[in-house]
């Protein structure tokens, strides 16, 4: 009886997961498939298979400057993630080691800040960046992205550092490390999984971020992939295969990272970096 109920439950779960995966995968599969179609076949038969493996749309997409957008995206993502990891790591460590309850209180404030939706601060952020004269610069993305990413990453690191064995830090102090040296030489080297989780999670978010980038970047030279690809729509009003090819190119690096470091990505969501 128990056995059968267990089977029924897992059947439902598998069914649900399968259905969900299908829903997620179909658009991706279609994107890749459509990238290989010609403009003509896209019009005549939008959901049919491509006639042949046809790389021309990739060439057209690349011609618009996907390569440059990609470099911009890589730079912005990399810089933001570095800033996020460094600041969150140090902040979370300090918060967990503060005497008394002050650390906990600040931590709670940060958690509360995490609840503010990105869209709500869009306009003020734009105004600040514009006022500072940062529009159309990578800094104008790196700073807000870092600000968005730090609270969540602090939460992730906080849980990790809270459980970090104190004896190791004390041993380091006895060995002559200052606080900062302890952090650098003992804690950081042992925080690999937490850092990887945080970095990957933030990379995905920043790589895909669209609205803020759209507001701040108007010159093509600075555009990141999500806004850059929009250009394909403007220039080739009807060139859907090229848009799809551009999107495929944009998705590829992330997909690759995800496949390689899936473990850390799942951990960052499920186990807070452990």
């Amino acid at each position: 009886m128990e056995q059968r109920r267990f089977k029924a439950t897992s059947l439902v779960l598998y069914g649900f997961t399968g259905l969900w995966s299908l829903m997620v995968l179909i658009p991706i599969a279609y994107m890749i498939m459509a990238a290989f179609k010609t403009k003509r076949s896209m019009f005549i038969d939008p959901i049919g298979w491509p006639d042949a493996l046809n790389w021309e749309s990739f060439e057209r997409a690349w011609g618009v400057g996907v390569g440059g957008f990609m470099i911009n995206s890589v730079l912005v993502t990399f810089l933001s993630v570095v800033v996020i990891v460094i600041f969150s790591g140090m902040a979370a460590y300090a918060l967990t080691r503060m005497p008394g309850r002050s650390g906990q209180i600040i931590y709670l404030l940060i958690v509360a800040g995490f609840a503010i939706p990105v869209q709500a601060v869009l306009v003020p952020v734009f105004q600040i960046m514009s006022g500072a004269g940062f529009l159309n610069s990578r800094l104008a993305l790196v700073l807000p992205y870092a600000a968005y990413g730090i609270p969540f990453t602090v939460i992730l690191f906080y849980a990790f550092f809270l459980d970090f064995p104190r004896e190791l830090e004390e041993a380091a102090r006895l060995d002559g490390c200052t606080r900062f040296q302890t952090f650098l030489r003992v804690i950081l080297p042992l925080s690999g999984p937490a850092i990887a989780s945080a970095a990957i999670f933030q990379s995905v978010f920043i790589w895909n971020e669209f609205i803020l980038a759209l507001l701040i970047l108007t010159k093509p030279a600075f555009k990141t992939l999500p806004v850059g690809i929009l250009e394909l729509q403007g220039e080739f009003t009807s060139d859907w295969p090229a848009v799809m090819a551009g999107l495929t190119l944009a998705t590829l690096p992330l997909l690759l990272i995800f496949v390689l470091a899936q473990k850390y990505f799942v951990r960052s969501l499920a186990g807070l970096g452990k």
């Binding site: 004390e170 041993a171 380091a172 102090r173 060995d175 002559g176 003992v186």
Partner: protein, 374 residues
């Protein structure tokens, strides 16, 4: 290779006083063991000496230097933790040399120091391994090696052997004793293990709720405990304690009467303490191993018989008297025979009792008469 002088040391955690004005002098090259019930402040005291806890009051001197407010690394102390606390991302050699590296010592000199320490502890084969590839005993050796490499003036150990199995513990105990002789270093050692305390210590410090109860050589503490707490804490199984009433206190002699036993008369060994008067409630203590043969005998209904091979412990109810407090159940006593003894639970045995093996504690718990040596 240095003295340690602690005076008036106080440590508070919020409203809780973990150390209540500790005074302790530790001689050059001495091996001092701190014991006491869980939560009595042993680790706190050790960590205060190490500099990991800032005291609220008092002073700590290492040699002739006041280190009360110095950084841990500047005090000339090294600490070995219960759970080893080896850096998992460094090799054994890296672990052992880390302190010297942080002190800016040249690589060759570090390698030499590590080599020397690893020779002493015979861990030379493992120098390039990661800590996770070591057994518990090897890890503890590395942790001790890490302490040795720094050539500290004072070694601090916080229950270093309690994570090891019994056989390994015995071996490491002997080895630590050898190490102490070899290095001739001052060592302060916290343990729960009575055997470790009795065998390794030059002097034992008994702590209880943040205060020192008594300091002395192991045999001294065992034979002449200053109070009921120390008498009960050292020795396993615990001393049997009986309630009694003083019937005479004259001419340097105390006589106590216990229901069911003849009067016990012992010399008054300790004159300081509260005034003793006839009618006072006192406590009598007798160690389990003192029972067995003696002046009188009594009947004991055995409840539990533990045959440990070398000795036999019998927990049972005496026919005509009662104990209070102790390891056995309410009213029961423990008898320890230093040999195998054929007895079964439920059986009634005749047990001898020497009348001069009793300690007398006054109602403050202070020892006033010591048992005669046997």
């Amino acid at each position: 290779m240095s003295t340690v002088e602690i005076s008036g040391l106080v440590k508070n955690f919020g409203a809780f006083q973990a150390l209540k004005s500790i005074d302790l002098s530790i001689g050059d090259g001495e091996f001092v063991v701190m014991v006491g019930p869980s939560g009595c402040g042993k680790s706190t005291l050790l960590r205060a000496i190490a500099g990991l806890e800032m005291p609220d009051d008092g002073m700590i001197m290492v040699g002739d230097r006041d280190v009360t407010f110095e950084e841990p690394a500047d005090r000339g102390v090294a600490m070995v933790f219960q759970n080893y606390a080896l850096y998992p991302h460094m090799t054994v050699a890296g672990n052992m040399g880390f302190g010297l590296k942080m002190a800016g010592i040249a690589k060759d000199a570090i390698a030499d120091a590590v080599q020397r320490a690893s020779d002493i502890l015979s861990i030379g084969d493992h120098l390039h391994k990661q800590p996770k590839a070591l057994s518990g005993g090897q890890k503890q050796r590395v942790a001790i090696g890490r302490a040795i490499t720094r050539q500290p003036k004072v070694f601090l150990f916080d229950e270093p052997l309690s994570n090891l199995d019994a056989a390994l513990r015995t071996r490491m105990r002997v080895e630590l004793g050898r190490l102490h002789n070899e290095l001739n270093a001052t060592m302060i050692y916290v343990t729960h293990d009575q055997t470790e305390a009795m065998t390794m210590a030059d002097r034992i410090v008994v702590l209880s709720s943040g205060a020192i109860e008594q300091v002395g050589s192991p045999r001294d503490l065992y034979n002449r405990p200053g109070n009921l707490f120390v008498a009960g804490f050292l020795g396993s199984p615990k001393m049997n304690v009986l309630q009694a009433t003083l019937v005479s206190a004259t001419d340097g002699e105390l006589t106590a009467s216990v229901a069911g036993l003849p009067d016990i008369t012992r010399p008054l060994d300790v004159t300081e303490g509260r005034e003793l008067a006839v009618g006072d409630k006192v406590l009598l203590g007798i160690r389990p191993e003192a029972l067995g043969e003696g002046d009188i005998s009594f009947n004991l209904k055995a409840r539990v018989v533990e045959n440990l091979g070398r000795e036999t412990l019998i927990y049972g109810t005496p026919e005509n008297f009662r104990s209070c407090d102790g390891d056995a159940e309410d009213g029961d006593i423990v008898v320890q025979y230093p040999r195998q003894y054929d007895a079964a639970a439920g059986q009634t045995l005749t047990v001898g009792m020497p009348l001069d093996a009793f300690y007398i504690f006054d109602s403050d718990g202070r020892t006033r008469s010591f048992a005669a040596a046997h």
